[in-house]
């Protein structure tokens, strides 16, 4: 396996202009709007379950932000609300200052969902090109970008294979490639390494780090505490739809008087 290519080396993942503009915007505009601003978000499902109640969260532009919490804490509900995938009961969501419901804000977000949700009728190449298309990319740009992503994520040998015939690891790579296809400014990764073997997980970590270094804001949810500690500059712990703590990994350890993030997690959730 060739592994995932260096995003800043052989392949221009973000597009030179995209990376440069992201970096410049962060440097020149210190009071730039946060990548994600959630205010008073409430989500009540049709069965009456309240997943989030009056939820507030701000993710600074350019940050690598982790969301930790048990199943049912509201992480995926929050992500779904940001990405227009659920009907929000109440609250305000903004992406780089724009209401999340606007087309502009939606074009800035890339989502890799926890579950594999690939179009069974499309090949790897088509999956990427069509995703780029409905995110507004022109045909030639989408096709060129798809070729880049195919190389970056080592999908060349399966480029013309439909997704049901891919291995689990290949599908996970394709899911991530699709999320990055349209050069989003905010990348949301919902447990991207769930069920992934050690080797691929290391590759994904390395790639995500480089993506962040190039100026992309990352919002990561994960159940792997070492993953959050290794990758995230800031971590929010969520329980029952509320943020119970938020700080760097070191800050959380200090606040809870714990030696490890696992101890922090146990104490915060108890």
């Amino acid at each position: 396996m060739a592994g995932i290519a260096n995003p800043n080396g052989q392949h221009d993942l973000f597009g030179a202009a995209g990376a440069a503009s992201a970096a410049v915007s962060l440097e020149r505009v210190p009071d730039a709007p946060p990548a994600l601003s959630v205010t008073g978000l409430t989500k009540r499902y049709d069965d009456g379950t309240v997943a989030l109640r009056d939820f507030d969260l701000e993710v600074p532009a350019g940050s690598f932000f982790g969301l930790l919490g048990p199943n049912g804490a509201g992480k995926t509900t929050l992500i779904s609300a940001v990405c227009n995938l659920i009907r929000v009961t109440d609250g305000d969501i903004r992406v780089f200052g724009q209401p999340a419901s606007t087309l502009l804000a939606r074009s800035w977000v890339g989502l890799a969902e926890q579950d594999i949700n690939l179009d069974r009728f499309l090949t790897v190449r088509e999956t990427l090109v069509y995703h780029g298309g409905w995110f507004g990319m022109a045909g030639r740009d989408a096709e060129a970008r798809a070729e880049e992503m195919i190389d970056v994520f080592d999908l060349r040998a399966k480029a013309d294979v439909r997704s049901p015939r891919l291995s689990g690891g290949m599908r996970r790579r394709l899911l991530l490639a699709r999320a990055l296809m349209h050069r989003p400014r905010l990348v949301i990764l919902d447990e991207p390494t769930a069920g992934v073997d050690f080797e691929l997980r290391q590759e994904l970590w390395s790639y995500i780090r480089k993506l962040h270094a190039a100026g992309t804001t990352i919002l990561l949810t994960t159940h792997y505490l070492e993953e959050a500690e290794s990758l995230c500059k800031e971590i929010a712990l969520i329980r029952h739809g509320e943020v119970v703590a938020r700080d760097s990994a070191d800050g959380l350890r200090e606040h809870y008087g714990a030696d490890t993030l696992a101890d922090v997690y146990v104490r915060a959730m108890s």
């Binding site: 990405c83 009907r87 087309l103 989502l111 949700n117 069974r120 409905w134 995110f135 022109a138």
Partner: protein, 254 residues
């Protein structure tokens, strides 16, 4: 950012699905409809004579083409949206920067293109076989357009509400197919005794069949304006229903 580029790509994706599965989506319905024409029209037509002055084998062609097209439009769109919901790859489209009206239009296109491909193939095959004319092409175009909007949108609505595949096929097999058969595909309702002739006028598909038949043959059991009006009165709210589902997110978003 207008979403129009996304709309075009969504249309392309829906048409791609039809072309990739062409043997199922186009060839199979064409073959089955041609068999109807061969069996009922050419083999039995000689004994049945004519209906309203039109040879029986030509008389049944408009209804059979209508039946094939509306079933294709419905089945295509019910299955494409249900599959996308079931496998959750609809999320990739729902999160994209497109307006709800663009999603509705984009998803409708696949069924319409598939139905037109089937209709064109059937016309090309049946015209030399039966000699069926196209007397009123504009009326035919209007009838086909309204019928396809109606059944494409109905397919989306059912595919969005369905919890399992059976629900989509139930509507097709229990509602659309019987109503199409009873809508005068194989006979003129004027040939029916009371009260069946009167009851046929409560069948909405009867009016679509009549409108298409008028386009082909220049005659129908009811006024073409009534037939087009009833079909439009069904097509507009059904399309609006699909639009409301995309706008509100009901059944598409939790």
């Amino acid at each position: 950012m207008t979403g129009n580029a996304g709309l075009l790509w969504l249309m392309r994706r829906e048409v791609l699905r039809v072309t990739k599965l062409w043997s199922q989506t186009v060839l199979a319905p064409v073959v089955s409809s041609i068999l109807f024409i061969l069996v009922f029209g050419l083999s039995l037509g000689g004994r049945l004579g004519s209906v309203g002055g039109v040879a029986y084998e030509a008389f049944i062609v408009p209804g059979l083409i209508t039946m094939a097209m509306v079933q294709a439009a419905y089945n295509n769109n019910a299955s494409t949206i249900f599959q996308a919901r079931s496998d959750r790859y609809v999320n990739d489209v729902l999160s994209a920067p497109m307006h709800p009206w663009q999603l509705n239009l984009g998803y409708n296109v696949g069924g319409i293109v598939r139905a037109i491909a089937i209709g064109a193939a059937l016309l090309a095959l049946s015209a030399p076989l039966t000699g069926v004319p196209v007397e009123r092409p504009f009326a035919l175009a209007a009838a086909v357009a309204l019928g396809l909007v109606l059944f494409s949108a109905l397919g989306l609505v059912v595919g969005i509400f369905a919890d399992q595949w059976d629900h989509t096929t139930f509507i097709s097999n229990i509602l659309i197919l019987p109503l199409t058969f009873l809508g005068g595909v194989f006979y003129s309702v004027e040939m029916l005794p009371a009260p069946w002739e009167e009851l046929s006028h409560f069948n909405p598909i009867f009016y679509l069949v009549q409108a298409v038949r008028f386009g082909f043959l220049g005659t129908s059991d009811v006024s073409v304006w009534l037939a087009l009006g009833v079909t439009a009165a069904l097509a507009v709210p059904t399309y609006a229903w699909a639009q409301w589902l995309f706008s509100s997110g009901r059944r598409l978003k939790a």
